[in-house]
Amino acid sequence: MASADPHPALAHHFESLEVQKESATLGMWSFIAQEVLFFGAFLLVYTLHRNLYYPVFEACSHHLDLKLGAFNTAVLICSSLTMALAVHAAAVGKKRQIVAWLLATVLLGSVFLGVKVVEYHQKWEDQLVPGLRWGAAEDVGRELHLQGADVDHAQLYFSLYFGLTGLHALHMIVGIPIILWIAFRAHRGEFDAAYNTPVELTGLYWHFVDIVWIFLFPLLYLIGHH
């Protein structure tokens, strides 16, 4: 960008769009690094209790719907592909394609959340929601094939299940309006091949949310031998 008129998206304190983009990208990665630790603290609590009460966690894990979990994993990977294609469309300056791929990402993200609602509803029906709707010890014991104190320890697993998947779902609920906002800005023609940093950074966020699920799926759904 050596021409006389700088790009309208270039902030005055940056030498060039490349430097501006590098700076913004690093900022996004700082955020993602702290998100790793944010989820990491939760994963630490999970690891600790999984080690203390492994047979209980295994029994509870078998109660989750493996098919729905695997389906949702596939849906989220598809949404990562559509997001990557939106970023690609932005990089090569195809404005209409940016909007189309972003809307596809929102659609797939909504499917994921819809499936999550079905799963949460099932836990509610089975009275497996600690603190809000937890069944009598004998009912829960029969449901999970557990006995005695293990029934109480199952609350630890389901608290972590709702905590981890809920935090993940919250990230998607935050992400979807951001993607819609970026799609609106793309529709207005704000992004071109030279300037598309917001599309790229939104992509980084969405892919990170996908990575969190890539770990949550085996940790919650696939404990032990099925």
Binding site: V92, D152, I214
Partner: protein
């Protein structure tokens, strides 16, 4: 498999994205299949190994880190190291409770009816 952007930035090609996507879907199938096999003590290791492979693919290609700056790579390594410190030091503390004293239990607290 990549092309240079109009303004010097690195643009990952569509076939690369689709290839990574297919690998991620295949690995999801593998992890579900593996959960039905009994690897004994390695069950968790196999599941986590596949998850780490998938995450690495997403970070390198979807998140463009393969083509990114060294500083971004350093941030990612730092995040992983911090996560490792958080989990390994805490777990080693819990695992070693009672090694020196008379207390037998490794649990940090006792649940009344246990």
């Amino acid at each position: 498999m990549s092309e240079r952007g109009e303004h010097g930035g690195h643009v990952v090609s569509v076939p690369t994205y689709v290839g990574v996507f297919l690998a991620l879907m295949a690995l999801t199938g593998v992890t579900v299949w593996a959960s039905g096999q009994d690897f004994g003590a390695l069950n968790t290791g196999v599941a986590l190994g596949i998850a780490v492979t998938k995450a690495t693919l997403v970070v390198l290609f979807f998140m463009h880190v393969k083509y990114g700056s060294s500083l971004v790579k350093l941030y990612i390594v730092a995040a992983i190291v911090w996560l490792g410190i958080l989990i390994s030091i805490t777990m080693s503390d819990y695992a070693s409770r009672g090694w020196l004293g008379p207390r037998q239990s490794t649990a940090p607290y006792q649940i009344e009816d246990r």
